[in-house]
């Protein structure tokens, strides 16, 4: 028991003695745990809201639609016979419809958008009665908008819209489980679209009275029909679709969709976020390990004398290692807790499964499994970074520990010879790198990880740009999907950049500390303060360059893998050049501060052998 | 010239007078430059009288001291053996200077600090000369070792003089 008290007292005192370092460590590990928590928590988060929406609205297990084929002048409007036959098919227990669906142009607030206008009764339907969340259901002269679509347009109850030239006012906003929320309404190519228009364009979803919907149909753009079915065995919806068909003349198209397909389409929004966050989380973890390694490793060497005292007083190597690790383990646990808390609080922002579904998935399952994994990762990061230095420190012989002899730098003849040929700041920088090459490698690795993350994000942006360009999305409206994706990637980028910045500051400060004696000596021998501070910065920037360059192919590869073998997107060269240049500039700027501060102190204070 | 030293130099074999002088000169280097031949022979005569040494003139040459051959007697050899085993050390004579300062202060004959200063300057000069002689010697000669001893002794004396200066300065400021 006494040993435990001793360990905790020593750990607490040391943390209090160097609060800045402790805070930096905490920051590094917390950033990693937050990202990881977010990624894990977003796992399959919309299944809840979709199901609750389906339950409340009595959503269909299968929807069947017919509509006039695009590009053909219809001889006659599509027939409803196929749909009617399905009403009595085996396995179907209830139905609503067939409802008329008109293809119309909606104009409001300066936007022009194609929409599916479905005609409904004012009375409640047996299957798929969309739930009105604001306002009221359809009535003459009024239109109800799907909630996500309304948000994209910026419309609220009471606003006015025009459909095919007729004016309506918005009576309500509703959610449904019968179609994926905007902009995925036509995801399954089951929409009644303009003549000649590609089906995949973003169409909105609105409901009108049956009479109003029929009035929107013209000979040029006839009506389609949609039927909602409830099955006796909802789980077998796919089987039902396979065994029944809606084949008709070539002048009409038809499609059947199962509820599972709609659920998956709705999931896409969040799964994109998760796809990005989980690999991003591991990147953040890698960066955190680097930061902790530098910070903790530096602290270990400072603690050599403390180790010597403990051992001289009778501490076993195990006890000494325990003391050294205790404070870091403590920080790791605090960081894990903070990461879990912050992640849990912010996950709803990212996973709010769009406005088109009910239920806040705001408690993305913070299962014991997730919490356990995050804690394990935090501890793992810490131990990975601190175990080796702690063991080494604990194994030092007592005498040399008391004498506080730091490990002298090994000689790197090639680097020393090459540096003599370079201008003075690079000479200093290269020789500083030669003193601690492992630190330089770590710096290069951290830069590589950061650039990998940023390039992956850029590749994702570029891929979306390509796709968007091909399909002429957006029609001037804000696209919730890419909006959400941008949001997520922005979060990830911010986290990575913060971690990278923390990392660089830590490494720069550790380098400046370690380089105190050689840089003071350089100044005593005639190096100007500017030469010395540029040299210190160069010691950081030079290893960062190969790291940044390596991050480019790695980032492209990461996106390709995360995109599950989709488009291999290579961002434009100008973006990549900007990333590399920006990273190097940031590294230089972040290390300039500790470097300059170090170069200002009078050399005499550092080199003083006796106070005389 | 200390008697035992001369005895010891004769211990190896009977030696001519001039040889003895040569050996001493070599062992002492610059320190032995002013070594007076007469001193050695006076000592040898005393030793002869004390029965520790016998002198034989070389045949057919005038009776000059440097031509005589000197040899240890049995008593002389015993004396040498005893001397080698002795561990007495030359007595440092600081008492004289110490009393000099006290007397000067008590009788107001002079300023103790000025006396210390003057002595210090003198010792520094000697140190300079000894140091220069030491630098001129090769590192392995016998004389180099002797000179190092002289230098270190002077250093020690100088340190004591610094202590004297500190003490007498304090005394003066107290009075």
């Amino acid at each position: 028991m006494g040993r435990l008290t001793l360990i905790s007292r020593l750990a607490a005192r040391d943390l209090r003695h160097r609060p800045v370092q402790a805070v930096l460590l905490l920051l590094a590990i917390t950033a990693a745990t937050v990202t990881l928590t977010l990624g894990l928590a977003l796992n399959g988060v919309t299944s809840g809201p979709y199901l609750s929406t389906k339950a409340v609205t009595n959503g269909p297990d299968v929807t069947a639609s017919v509509w006039p084929s695009a590009g053909e002048q219809p001889e006659r409007p599509p027939s409803r016979d196929g749909l009617t036959a399905l009403e009595t098919a085996s396995g179907a227990v209830a139905h609503s419809g067939p409802y008329p669906v008109a293809s119309a142009t909606l104009r409001a607030r300066g936007h022009t958008v194609p929409v599916q206008a479905e005609g409904r009764d004012e009375a409640l339907a047996a299957v798929d009665q969309p739930l009105v969340t604001e306002g009221t259901w359809v009535r003459p002269g009024g239109v109800v908008l799907e909630r996500t679509f309304a948000q994209a347009l910026g419309l609220t109850v009471g606003g006015r819209v025009s459909l095919n030239g007729q004016s309506f006012h918005v009576t309500g906003l509703a959610v449904t489980a019968a179609v994926p929320e905007y902009p995925g309404v036509c995801f399954f190519l089951s929409c009644n679209a303009y003549n000649g228009q590609a089906q995949a364009s973003d169409m909105g979803m609105v409901w009108l009275t049956q009479a109003a919907a029929r009035s929107l149909g013209t000979s040029a753009t006839p009506l389609g029909y949609v039927l909602n079915l409830e099955l006796s065995h909802p789980a077998d919806a796919a089987v039902f679709v396979n065994t029944h068909s809606l084949a008709g003349p070539s002048s009409q198209s038809s499609a059947m969709t199962t509820w599972q397909q709609i659920q998956n389409a709705d999931n896409d929004l969040v799964s994109v976020a998760q796809q990005v966050l989980t690999p991003g989380g591991w990147l953040a973890v890698a960066l955190a390990i680097a930061s902790v390694a530098v910070l903790a490793g530096g602290r270990m060497t400072e603690q050599t004398r403390r180790v010597g005292l403990l051992k001289a007083a009778g501490g076993t190597p195990a006890l000494v290692a325990a003391v050294l690790l205790a404070e870091h383990v403590l920080l790791a646990l605090v960081a894990a807790g903070a990461g879990l808390g912050i992640g849990w609080l912010t996950a709803p922002l990212l996973s709010s499964a769009g406005a088109g579904l009910l239920g806040a998935p705001g408690a993305p399952a913070l299962t014991a499994g997730t919490a356990g994994l995050v804690v394990a990762v935090a501890l793992g990061v810490t131990l990975a970074a601190t175990l080796v230095p702690a063991v080494r420190a604990a194994r030092t012989s007592t005498v040399s520990a008391l004498a506080d002899s730091a490990r002298p730098p090994r000689r790197r003849a090639l680097l020393i010879a090459v540096s003599a040929l370079l201008p003075v700041p690079l000479l200093i920088g290269l020789r500083l790198i030669a003193r601690r090459p492992r630190r330089a490698l770590l710096g290069a690795a951290s830069t590589a990880v950061t650039v990998t993350g940023i390039v992956a994000v850029l590749a994702a942006h570029h891929a979306y740009d390509l796709v968007a360009g091909r399909f002429d999305w957006f029609a001037g409206l804000s696209d919730p999907v890419s909006g959400r994706v941008s949001q997520v990637m922005a979060v990830l980028t911010v986290v990575l950049l913060t971690l990278a910045a923390v990392n660089t500051v830590i490494a720069g400060w550790a380098t400046a500390l370690e380089a105190r004696q050689p840089s003071a000596l350089a100044r005593a021998l005639g190096g100007t303060p500017r030469q010395v501070s540029v040299g210190l910065a160069a010691a950081q920037v030079l290893p960062a360059l190969p790291g940044a360059l390596a991050g480019i192919p790695l980032g492209i590869a990461l996106f390709a893998v995360a995109n599950s073998g989709g488009v291999v997107s290579v961002p434009p060269a100008s973006w990549l050049a900007a990333v590399v240049a920006g990273t190097l500039a940031a590294v230089a700027a972040l290390t300039a501060l500790p470097a300059t501060l170090g170069a200002r102190r009078p050399a005499a204070l550092i080199l003083r052998s006796e106070v005389a | 010239m200390q008697q035992e030293v001369v005895l010891a130099m004769l211990a190896k074999e009977p030696t001519h007078g001039y040889e003895l002088r040569a050996r001493l000169k070599q062992a002492l280097g610059p320190v032995g430059e002013e070594l007076n031949a007469g001193q050695i022979y006076v000592t040898l005569t005393r030793l002869e009288k004390a029965g520790l040494v016998t002198a034989r003139p070389t045949a057919g040459v005038q009776e000059r001291p440097d031509r005589k051959v000197y040899e240890l007697t049995a008593a002389g050899q015993q004396r040498v053996a005893e001397w080698l085993a002795e561990v007495s050390w030359p007595r440092p004579d600081l008492t004289e200077f110490h009393l000099k300062l006290i007397a000067a202060a008590a009788a107001r004959l002079g300023d103790p600090l000025a006396i210390v200063d003057a002595q210090r300057r003198e010792l520094l000069r000697r140190l300079r000369d000894a140091q220069r002689a030491a630098m001129a010697e090769s590192a392995t000669s016998d004389a180099a070792l002797l000179l190092e001893g002289i230098v270190l002794r002077l250093q020690a004396d100088l340190r004591w003089l610094e202590a004297c200066e500190r003490t007498w300065t304090t005394r003066r400021s107290q009075s």
Partner: protein, 243 residues
């Protein structure tokens, strides 16, 4: 003869109020070209601080320092660095050699910092090592050299850029008697070659070989001596050879 180094009213204070410490208190010092000046004093008397001030490694609280025509106390950091590079050679008590560089690489460092070509710097370094008697140790690391050899490498380094003045802080403080002799020989050679030296020491052996010997206590100069004239007695008398 105009002085190479001239300090006037030099002061260095630390702390404030009750805790004020005057490490250097109103010091005047002139050093002519080619002179060897030794400053002696006990530990804590401020002699190392004085040397750091003279060499531009630290800034005085008050006072003027003129070295090789420039006012050291008025120079900015960059100009001070250039001054240290071109006009001052500093020898530290703790040597301060880089452990991972060979003797030759250590000695050529000031020349490289001054922007000379690597070849010229290396040539000068080998020349200096030869002069200090370490030509065969040029490729050795400091860990393979004895204390005296390391200090001689440090002295060679101080000479790399042919400085106007060499400032040495307790150069034999960490050395044994034999190594001290080596360093003394080196300083003697330099003196004879016309190098101006200011040596701070509490070793009377070095002090005895200087042209001027200044005693320092509590930040002030207390005494100045020129050791002219012969000794009162011969070496023989010193050694205890009675007449």
């Amino acid at each position: 003869m105009t002085a190479l180094l001239s300090a006037c009213g030099l002061c260095k204070e630390y702390g404030k109020g009750d805790a004020l410490v005057r490490a250097v208190d109103d010091i005047d010092l002139d050093v002519a070209v080619g002179e060897t000046v030794a400053i002696m004093g006990p530990s804590g008397c401020g002699k190392s601080t004085l040397l750091h001030l003279l060499g531009g490694l630290d800034r005085p609280t008050r006072g003027e320092i003129e070295l090789a025509g420039s006012r050291v106390d008025q120079l900015g950091e960059r100009a001070l660095a250039r001054l240290r590079r071109d006009a001052v050679g500093f020898v530290f008590q703790a040597f301060h050699l880089m452990d991972e560089l060979t003797a030759a690489e250590n000695v050529e460092l000031p020349a490289l910092l001054a922007g000379r070509s690597p070849r010229a710097a290396r040539r000068r370094a080998l020349e200096l090592l030869d002069r200090t008697g370490l030509a065969d140790r040029a490729r050795f690391l400091p860990s393979a050299l004895s204390g005296g050899q390391r200090q001689r490498v440090a002295i060679a380094r101080a000479l790399a850029n042919d400085p106007a003045i060499v400032l040495a802080d307790e150069p034999t403080g960490n050395l044994d008697s034999a190594a001290t002799l080596d360093v003394l020989r080196l300083f003697d050679d330099l003196h004879r070659a016309g190098q101006t030296l200011v040596i701070v020491t509490h070793d009377s052996r070095i002090a005895a070989t200087a042209d001027r010997l200044i005693s320092m206590r509590d930040g002030e100069f207390t005494d100045e001596t020129r050791l002219t004239g012969g000794t009162a007695g011969s070496l023989g008398k010193l050694a205890g050879l009675e007449g």
